[in-house]
């Protein structure tokens, strides 16, 4: 497994303006560690999409990043409404976001597909009424 750097963040579900704070911090850390810019960007986009999802759908939660020499594992945990149909949610263009969210520039139904596109592994554990944990693994 090797040495691991663990970073943990509160994702504030009430504050749309601050969404992206955790991704930004992880991006900065990876950059400082000398991870390639292409990998840093994949991590930043995948995690940022996840963070936005937590804010617009699930009232926030916890974001945990474990950085290994060859990869990063990200856990995005919320206690939101859960995802009733994961296959449907994974479909590009499908979104349950409100008109208000769309007016902010999100809710195009690209969040989960984007997270899959930019990560090497993605796993969604979800239960309606309980919450969702999204696991992302990105190799450098």
């Amino acid at each position: 497994m090797g040495e691991c750097i663990r970073l943990e963040y509160d994702v504030d579900g009430e504050n749309f303006a601050s969404a992206g704070h955790a991704s930004e911090s992880v991006k900065r850390t990876l950059k400082q560690m000398g991870v390639s810019p292409a990998s840093v960007r994949r991590v930043a986009i995948a995690m940022y999409e996840g963070e936005i999802n937590m804010v617009i759908h699930a009232h926030g939660g916890r974001a945990i990043a474990e950085i290994y020499p060859d990869r990063i594992d990200i856990y995005l945990r919320d206690t939101g409404p859960g995802i009733a149909d994961v296959d449907l949610a994974m479909r590009a263009g499908y979104s349950t976001a409100t008109e208000n969210i769309r007016s902010l520039g999100f809710g195009a139904g690209m969040g989960l597909p984007n997270m899959k596109k930019y990560s090497d592994e993605m796993k969604i554990d979800t239960a309606v009424g309980v919450g969702t944990t999204v696991f992302l693994r990105i190799r450098f």
Partner: protein, 112 residues
């Protein structure tokens, strides 16, 4: 072209990042949908948009973009300008509409 040339071509006002105006840029994209910017953009360094919230700056930051142009004469609030300033991202504001602003930059050699 440089960001300085973008300023001139779009008759734009500089909101922050004056010290980065000589940075070279090669490509741009125009969108009001940040989800689509995150999904489809690749290595573009300028974002033209009519959207004003802080997530425009964060999206640009995640994509390693260098400059955001607000179209239709829009200006974001000060916290958004401060956020961009802290990230070293240039913010410009032009009276031109999105289609026109994109067209001017495209015909002057900026790629998509």
């Amino acid at each position: 072209m440089t960001i300085r040339e973008v300023v001139k071509l779009l008759d734009a006002e500089i909101l922050c990042g004056e010290e980065h105006l000589d940075t070279e840029i090669h490509t741009a994209c125009g969108s009001d949908m940040m989800s689509d910017v995150l999904a489809y953009v690749k290595d573009q360094s300028v974002l033209l948009t009519g959207l004003l919230n802080p997530q425009v700056v964060r999206t640009a930051e995640m994509m390693d973009m260098l400059c955001i142009v607000f179209v239709r004469g829009k200006r974001p609030e000060q916290p958004v300008i401060d956020l961009a300033e802290s990230k070293g991202i240039v913010l410009l504001s032009t009276e031109k509409r999105l289609f026109v602003a994109c067209g001017i930059l495209y015909t002057n050699g900026l790629g998509g």
